[in-house]
């Protein structure tokens, strides 16, 4: 029987993912990835409760359950990366890095080494493969075996494609574009065909312990502390000037350029008049530049240069129908890609360096790069 290791975070999504896989006839093992367990000032890390929730659901489902400890790796690949990026004046996306390095690389490798045929997570996304007998992606396995008298297929694809979720609003492909086609070949996203609403309902129908559990938002460990306080733990910051880009005059003081991101309006502490927006910063000088001009050229860009381009299958051969997304749940913007430069039809507001530009064609997520 095909054996799936499903990452269970203790939330409703991964709980239902495990339940669905079991119903589809897979042999399922639940895995809690212990990535972060430190408390932060004013915030108790809920990892132990999350672990207990995940395990309780696993016991409910009668499946095996294990803990994979990636704390050291997570710190290295995700947290340190994130801090370094901020120090360099960029605004990184740690979720994308976590998927690329931890979930769909380390977890995948550890699961396969432990005897799994594939992994699954509760992400809202879909995987499609072209191997029609693929035992991983072409379920239901059990009914096919039983009704057709066909043996359980042992065929497996070697490469698969990433497609957007049925629930466009929840679609998480933006965070998954750096997962390779090879990794996707041994990956399942059981929730891809359902809406969040349906997922809650199905979890309730099945009496899953986590059916009503509150959603965790954003990077788990930064969630309730805020990036500002989190970075404050890792980086020595010093106050600097906030400078009016138009006049060059100093408008006020900030407590560290690292905390400011392009287009940011809040947190400038400059009283009265028109709102100021961050239009640039100089990390070396520790200066933040602001403007009241919403049409400042730094705020709007029509052309973006991308670095670290990565494609799930291959570089799109032309730009017909090609769209790009600059933030999670952001609009799909028509674009033309030539080399590492993406041209937008309309200027777009403040795509920050370090964020990702992710390309889509006919509901497929093709890959993307990081805004330079």
């Amino acid at each position: 029987m095909t054996r799936i290791y499903v990452g269970m975070s203790g939330g409703v999504d991964s709980s239902l993912a495990a339940a669905l896989l079991l119903e589809r006839g897979f042999e399922v093992t639940g895995i809690y990835m212990k990535n972060w367990s430190q408390d932060l000032p004013g915030m108790k890390c809920p990892w132990a409760e999350d672990l207990a929730d995940a395990k309780r659901v696993a016991v409910q489902l009668g499946i095996d359950f294990k803990v994979f400890d990636f704390e050291k790796e997570y710190k290295h690949y995700v947290v340190d990366y994130m801090v370094e990026e901020y120090k360099a004046g960029r605004t990184p996306n740690p979720d994308i890095m976590c998927n690329q390095e931890v979930k769909f690389k380390l977890f995948l490798a550890a699961a396969l080494a432990d005897g799994a045929d594939a992994i699954a997570t509760g992400h809202y996304a879909r995987v499609r493969c072209e191997e029609s007998r693929c035992a991983i992606h072409h379920y239901p396995v059990s009914s096919r075996g039983a009704e057709d008298g066909v043996d359980d297929s042992t065929a497996q694809c070697t490469k698969a494609f990433l497609c957007v979720a049925e629930d466009h609003d929840k679609d998480q492909t933006y965070f998954l574009y750096r997962v390779t086609g090879e990794a996707l070949a041994t990956t399942l996203f059981p929730l891809g065909d359902y809406t969040k609403q349906q997922v809650r309902e199905m979890a309730t129908e099945r009496g899953l312990w986590t059916a009503d559990k509150k959603e965790s938002m954003g990077v788990c460990f930064v969630g309730s502390v805020g990036m500002r306080d989190f970075l404050g733990q890792y980086v020595k910051t010093r106050p600097g000037d906030i400078i009016d880009k138009a006049t060059g005059s100093t408008l006020g003081r900030h407590d560290g350029a690292i905390f400011y991101t392009l287009g940011q309006r809040h947190g400038l502490d400059i009283g009265g008049g028109l709102p100021y927006y961050v239009v640039g910063k100089d990390m070396a000088k520790n200066e933040v530049y602001v403007s009241t001009n919403l049409n400042d050229t730094a705020m709007w860009r029509r052309e973006l240069t991308l670095g670290q381009l990565q494609w799930i299958d291959h570089v799109p051969s032309d730009s017909a129908g090609l769209t790009v997304r600059l933030r999670h749940r952001g609009a799909l913007l028509p674009c033309i890609l030539s080399g590492t430069v993406v041209k937008l039809e309309e200027p777009e507001r403040a795509p920050t360096a370090g964020q990702s530009a992710v390309f889509y064609l006919h509901g497929n997520c093709l890959g993307g790069g990081i805004v330079a």
Partner: protein, 387 residues
């Protein structure tokens, strides 16, 4: 229509106890009708003061002490912290104390004495750990995980001998024996003179009284210094408006627990022994920990080697059997119980252990039901793992 909830089979009395209805009834007036501040000057407030003083008197009587020696606190942890805060010097504690004692001891120069394989503190070990500058020896009355009852009288003899030695040698350093008796009240004798202690901690929440209510009894020769300062209540040792309802409830709880202690202990021991016998018959490989000859009547610490006790707890809760794991969460290998480490239980057994603690919610029928369910669920897990 009122649908009756299916009955819970509660086997975790060492963690929390439901409030005795007499306790609840005694507390009720003080929430609304007699809500006054005992320090206020008018008659109804004076009535509240009297009720409070009466409760303290009854608490003192129940343990053989004086009302002036009782400080009502917000639970055993505070009581323990209070007694440790008052001393300067070396302290001796056992390896199987509650974290409140171990953490409080860490703030002083301290020696932790080991226990034997049954979790018993040896009085000779305590004698060996006492130094000329030892001011406090703190040993639990009974262990919360294993139920092992500690030889407090023997330890008291050791402390007394040291006190005698110092008196004869003209040494001025005092030495006190404190006991955390959070576990055991209501099952065994907690008379302070008979135990031979200088200070005693009790917890109302473990004896069918209100949670967040406890007491520290300290003989008049024990020096204390307050953790909480303010209006000077409790002889200046614990400021804050008195918890009249809590003290009144605690007094009723302690009286009732003490009055029925002997009979309740016999009843629980019988239930526990049956449970132990039947579980060992069903699972000969199971290991019972704790001192079988000196054990709290309701306690049964049993390990099923190879089983993940946390899974077992989740399976049992689904069948409405509520029981604690005998160790900390098995998935987190770094936090295995310090008690099980102290008695040298193998990690495999430790991870497969349940702590069953019987009490007033236990009877023959519920105990038999729980037994059948536990046997089923352990077998279920064994089967699942064989696949």
């Amino acid at each position: 229509m009122n649908v009756k909830k299916p009955e819970l089979l509660y086997l975790d009395h060492a963690a929390a106890t439901p409030m005795d209805e007499h306790v609840l009834a005694a507390m009720q007036p003080f929430f609304q009708d007699e809500f006054f501040n005992p320090s206020s000057p008018y008659a109804p407030a004076v009535q509240a003061r009297r009720a409070y003083d009466d409760a303290k008197h009854r608490l003192a009587v129940a343990i053989g002490g004086k009302a002036d020696e009782v400080i009502v606190t917000a639970g055993a942890t505070e009581s323990i912290n209070l007694v440790f805060a008052g001393i300067t010097g070396h302290v001796v504690v056992s390896a199987v104390e509650h974290p409140a004692v171990l953490e409080a001891a860490r703030r002083h120069e301290h020696t932790i004495v080991p226990v034997d394989a049954k979790g018993s503190v040896l009085s000779e070990a305590v004698a060996g750990a006492i130094r000329p500058d030892t001011v406090l020896v703190s040993i639990q009355l009974a262990n919360n995980e294993l139920g092992t009852i500690q030889p407090l009288r023997e330890i008291a003899t050791v402390v007394k001998a040291e006190r005698q030695r110092r008196a004869e040698g003209g040494e001025a350093t005092p030495i006190y024996l404190h006991s955390d008796a959070s576990q055991g009240a209501g099952q065994i004798d907690i008379h302070v003179a008979r135990l031979g202690v200088d200070a005693l901690t009790l917890n109302a929440g473990k004896m069918y009284g209100p949670k967040q209510v406890g007491l520290l009894w300290a003989a008049s020769h024990v020096t204390l210094s307050p953790l909480i300062v303010g209006g000077g209540q409790e002889r200046g040792l614990r400021s804050g408006t008195e918890n009249v309802a809590g003290a009144v409830g605690f007094a009723v709880a302690l009286e009732r627990a003490s009055r029925h202690a002997a009979g309740e202990a016999r009843r629980l021991a019988q239930l526990r022994d049956t449970l132990q016998r039947e579980l060992l018959a069903a699972f000969p490989e199971a290991v019972v920990s704790g001192n079988q000859k000196k054990r709290l009547a309701g306690h049964l610490h049993i390990s099923f080697p190879g089983i993940d006790a946390e899974r077992l707890v989740f399976l049992l809760e689904a069948k409405r059997v509520l029981v604690a794991t005998g160790s900390a969460c098995a998935a987190n290998k770094n936090t295995r119980s310090h008690v099980l480490e102290a008695i040298g239980l193998s990690p495999e057994a430790a991870d497969g252990s349940l702590r069953i603690t019987l009490g007033r919610l236990s009877n023959e029928a519920t105990s038999a039901q729980a037994l059948a369910i536990i046997v089923d669920m352990v077998r279920f897990e064994q089967q699942r793992m064989k696949k």
